[in-house]
């Protein structure tokens, strides 16, 4: 994984793969991928960023949500080759070197996670909401996470956590 970005992409290399440059969490990665590889799989298996979870691979569960140019998108519904040239942010990129982000801390305070499977997608989606400048109300939070399935919490504590984090941000 060198960090050069000069080559014109995608370049066909060994049979069946192309070389691309992926920008993830502020770092450029030069990697060879098969075009059919989903961004979710490349993040997890090639880059070791296993915070991005994979549930359904059909866009429904939201566990794989990442930010593309700051907007929430499904990494299971995007080929890694398509993501070239775009700024990708995963949950790792939203986590400080030490400790937790204010939103993550609010999740902890409010017990907004149990098994944690949905949590990365929730954090990514809700962080996008907080950063979007949209009003943060119970209604907009519920609308934002309507595409993120949680089997454990019943959502209420997640909503509480996001509203709390929004208040904190405003202080």
């Amino acid at each position: 994984m060198s960090e050069t970005t000069q080559e014109v992409s995608p370049v066909e290399t060994r049979e069946g793969t192309v070389e691309i440059t992926l920008k993830v969490n502020g770092k450029s990665h030069r990697i060879a991928v098969e075009p059919r590889m989903l961004l979710s799989d490349v993040l997890r298996h090639e880059l070791g960023l296993t915070g991005t979870h994979v549930g359904c691979e059909q866009g429904v569960c939201g566990a794989c949500t990442v930010l593309v140019e700051g907007e929430p998108q499904r990494s299971c519904l995007m080929f890694a080759v398509q993501a070239e040239g775009r700024e990708i942010t995963t949950v790792e990129g939203l986590t400080p070197e030490a400790g937790l982000s204010p939103l993550q801390a609010a999740f902890e305070r409010h017990h907004a996670l149990q098994c944690g499977f949905c949590t990365p997608g929730m954090i990514v989606t809700c962080e996008a909401l907080l950063r979007s400048g949209r009003p943060v109300t119970e209604e907009t939070v519920r609308e934002a996470i309507s595409g993120n399935v949680c089997r454990c919490t019943g959502y209420q504590f997640i909503v509480d956590a996001v509203l709390d984090a929004a208040k904190e941000g405003a202080r």
Partner: protein, 270 residues
């Protein structure tokens, strides 16, 4: 499961895209991938070549000229919801787009992709039929324009040829009369079980366009709406070949038309 192998071509222009589409083996366009990739993940679709048009950012434009609102094929659904010009000129389109999937789907899925994919329960194809839009289709053979009403031919079937790309949508504005929209879905973000657009003109006449109840958009005209509006919707639904659950779909069809009609009336009184 994972998608089957394919060759990847990233288009750098519309010309490049249609040339690739015409010359590469078993080539298919990919825009937002929000319909195509789920199908490929389950190997229900396995094209040999994908021509990626998702980087043609200049096709994500909204312009207004000479009474025509021109929407680029690569506009993500979320832009339909939020764009100031769209909200001003065709608010019903912005409202309907809000019902497409979830936020993370709307930021990626495109107008052209939805119109070409032609899911019978999709909001946008019916919107275009209701709004008398035209589609501009490009191929190496040239450019043609087709009315949305003539484009939809039945279940997942359109007038789009295998070598054609939908590049833009042209909506005459201001629309004639007032529009209302309504749909019923089991959960927020699900495809609609039934939906409708109702247009009401100054003279009391108008049209209703249903989606989700049959193989594609179903538009019917009316001269006026009687006191018992539901009777009119039932009558107009009579010759629609509904997908399944005959009584239930027709019931929903009446319901959504009625709600959409009331909203159109509300718009008219503003």
């Amino acid at each position: 499961m994972k998608p089957a192998p394919f060759q990847y071509h990233r288009a750098v222009s519309v010309d490049d895209a249609v040339t690739a589409l015409a010359t590469l083996p078993d080539a298919k366009l990919i825009a937002g991938g929000q319909s195509l990739i789920p199908l490929m993940n389950f190997r229900m679709s396995r094209p040999q070549t994908l021509v990626d048009i998702s980087h043609l950012d200049n096709l994500a434009s909204v312009t207004l000229s000479d009474g025509v609102l021109v929407l680029g094929a690569l506009l993500p659904h979320q832009r339909l919801c939020e764009d100031a010009l769209i909200r001003e000129q065709v608010p019903v389109l912005a409202e309907a787009a809000q019902h497409i999937g979830h936020w993370a789907i709307r930021t990626r899925g495109t107008l052209g992709g939805s119109l070409a994919h032609a899911d019978p329960a999709a909001e946008l194809p019916a919107a275009m039929v209701a709004l008398d839009a035209e589609f501009v289709l490009r191929s190496v053979r040239g450019t043609r324009t087709v009315a949305a009403r003539d484009f939809y031919l039945g279940f997942l079937t359109t007038d789009l040829a295998a070598d054609e790309m939908l590049t833009e949508v042209r909506i005459p504005v201001p629309p004639q009369g007032w529009y209302g929209f309504a749909e019923v879905a089991r959960r927020a973000g699900d495809f609609a079980l039934a939906g409708a657009y109702v247009q009401v003109r100054d003279d009391g006449g108008g049209s209703v366009t249903w989606f989700g109840i049959s193989g594609g958009p179903e538009r019917r005209e009316f001269e006026s709406v009687p006191e018992d509006a539901a009777a009119l919707w039932r009558e107009l639904l009579a010759d629609v070949d509904v997908t399944d659950d005959d009584d239930y779909r027709r019931h929903l069809g009446v319901l959504v038309a009625d709600w959409a009609y009331r909203r159109a009336q509300g718009e008219a009184q503003r």
